[in-house]
Every structure is written in structure tokens, then in C-alpha cells.
Symmetry: C2
Subunit: 229 residues, 2 copies
Amino acid sequence: MENSMIIKQIAVIHTDFREKFGIPRQSGRVPTLTGEIEFLPEYRKSEALRGLEGFSHLWLIFDFSKAHREQWSPTVRPPRLGGNQRIGVFASRSPFRPNPLGLSCVKLVEIRHTADRGDVLVVSGADLLDGTPIYDIKPYLPFADSHPEALGGYADAQQSHRLQVEVPPELLECLPEDKRQTMIDCLAEDPRPSYQNDSERVYSMQYAGFDVHFRVVQECVQVIGVEKL
Amino acid sequence: MENSMIIKQIAVIHTDFREKFGIPRQSGRVPTLTGEIEFLPEYRKSEALRGLEGFSHLWLIFDFSKAHREQWSPTVRPPRLGGNQRIGVFASRSPFRPNPLGLSCVKLVEIRHTADRGDVLVVSGADLLDGTPIYDIKPYLPFADSHPEALGGYADAQQSHRLQVEVPPELLECLPEDKRQTMIDCLAEDPRPSYQNDSERVYSMQYAGFDVHFRVVQECVQVIGVEKL
């Protein structure tokens, strides 16, 4: 087909999120969120990673696999703007775009050699759904990619929005120790769609094999149940 | 096809480089290099850019259109390492990768309204070939994308390599005034493949409709001819 290209999945990422709800809205927001990138057999070659250990951060180009649509819409409603303001799709990182390609920067924690899955990349700060297909992995080059002075448009004002989180100790203990703080950090990011402001409403976030039920009263997340899935 | 996705071109970039030779090896290296992004008719909608004016930098995901290959190679030889050291393809930004997708950060200079081509994005710092197909444009989010502390691996040591440039005034005047300094800056980046060190050899860089002939004697580029193409 003219004006098009076929791209092939090279890897898959495994994360603690089986559902979109609860995933932080940009990479790096919750630094302790880890993921494991496993290469597909065809791309599972140690040489392809030679030199990667010298980099601290990576770019992932991935498939917004739950956001494929037949038609594209020129505007989207970013949740961080309350969901009622329309922004151009090219002025947003929304998954609903002409080509559902995602771009995230993650930290490279470890290159883990495994017997059955080859070299696995352990990364942190990942805002990806479990099972997301990866199309490319590139090193982050600070001299070309880092622009702290850049203007972040409407997104700048929204980045500091965070909620308090209250979890009764007995519910926190339902989770494995290494998942507790990360769950709290994800909730603090305010997973609610569009700043819904109904303090009676119970939300459920699936995380690390658990269903976490919570309410949001004023600016505080109150966890009211944790169930194993 | 399983494990694959078809992506469609949404735009094309027009730049002063018709050939790969001479293009700076990362975006932003030559900040004055400008380009114009023109949307394909189907994607030419002003609403799709709403809010973009608040961002200073953009990501382009593009087609390394001259680097399509049937087979992929797990290693590449980065020109900046002298061309004789092999690095894993996922530890490099080489165009020769399983999916020939490029990623560049450019500055948004202007959104230019035109009668015949819709809204055109004027960008600077572009390291793209003229006519490169663009698959996605995303805003640069400094809070998620900027990591000045990141480690740049083997690439860190190489970024400061620059050459002196000598151009006789009568040759410089062959070029339009607004292209002169940019040509010098591109030459200073050392376009030679693999640090060739033959001071007799004459290289030619096509830039802005001119053929620029030069030699490199020690660490100095000597321009010896400028011809209109």
C-alpha cells in the first residue's frame, strides 16, 4: 500500500497492569513501577544489546494496542484537563491517534540473562499495559533528547496534581511488600477519569494481581478493599 | 499478519538535504537547520494542532526511508566510533534496525497558515532527509521526556567532536545569506564516514540546492568549491 509501512513486533513488556485504569499518565511518574521486556525469539540476540549497559534510559516505541480505531479524530479530551476541553491530537500524547504508536522513556534497571527467555530488560517508570507489543527500543541520548527548558504547553500546569492516599494497615498487608509503595504512588496520581467528583463512587484498580477498591473524598484516596484476583 | 501493524504516513518533511551525506547525526546538533512539515491532505486539519503552539519542542516518528532492508543485523558500526566497532542495534540510533523508525526532537518555530498546503509546521534542528515520511508528531513533555542526568553510554564521549571550517569568502557568497552559517555548522559536525583520514580526498555535500566540495586537512574542513545543482 502506498504511503504506509508494515512494522513488526520485536518484544513484549510485562507489567503489573492488566487494565488501562490506574496506569500513570506518563512514563516516569511512578519511578518504582517496573516492567520486563522480553524479546520475541527472532530478535532474542545478545549482540543486539551490546553497549546498552552504558545507558541509563531507553525509549520504547510501542503499540497502543487497546486504542486501535478505524477512524481518527482530530481532537482528543485529555483527562488532565478535566475531560471537557478539546486539544489537537498532535498536541497530545493520547493513544487515540492516526497511528496508535506510543513513546515512553523508561529507566534501564538491569539486563537479566535468563535460560529460557534470553536477555530480558528490566525497566522502571513504565506506563505500559501488560502484554504491550514493542516495535523499537532506542538508547536515550541526553545531549539530543534532554531539553529541560522546553515549554510543556497545557500539560505543564497539570503535572503537579497529586492526591493524598490513605490505606488501612490490614489492607496494605494484603499486597506483597515490594508492591505497596508503588500502589500508593499510582493512586496518588489520581486514576479517575476526568476529575469525577463523586465521593460515594467506588473505583477499582487492578494492580499486580489485586483488585484495589477506593473512593476519593475531596483530595484524598481512601482504599476500602484489596482482593486477590 | 500476526505481530505486525500497518502505519500510514501522515505528513512529509521538506529539508535542505536531498542526500544522507552531511545530515547531522542527531537532531538539534545544528539548531539553525530548518524544515517544513506538510500534512497529507487526509490529515490536514487545523483542529488536530490545537494547543500545539504552547509547546516549544516536538517529537517526530519517521521513516528511515533509505534504510529499508529485507534482513536486520543485530549489530551496527556507529560512524562516531570510527566505523570499526560493533554496537548492538538497540544500543544505537542507527537507521538500520528491525523497524526503520526514526525518532527526532525538533523545535517548533512556527505554525504557518498557507492557502494551498494547510497549516505547515516550521521546525528547526531537524536531522531528516528531504521528503521523509512522518508517521507521528507528539508534543515534547519536559517533565516526562527530559533527563539531563541520563547516561549516554559510548555516545557521550563523542558528542564534542567538531571540526574547524574554512570557506573562502567568494565561495561563501555563492550561497543565500541565510544558508551560510548553517552550511558551516553542518561541515563542523564532520560528515565524513568513519573518520576517514585522507587529506587529498574531496568530499561533496549536497545542501540547499548546492554541491559543496571540501577536503579535511587535519581537523580543518577546507571548502574548495560550491556549485549550484
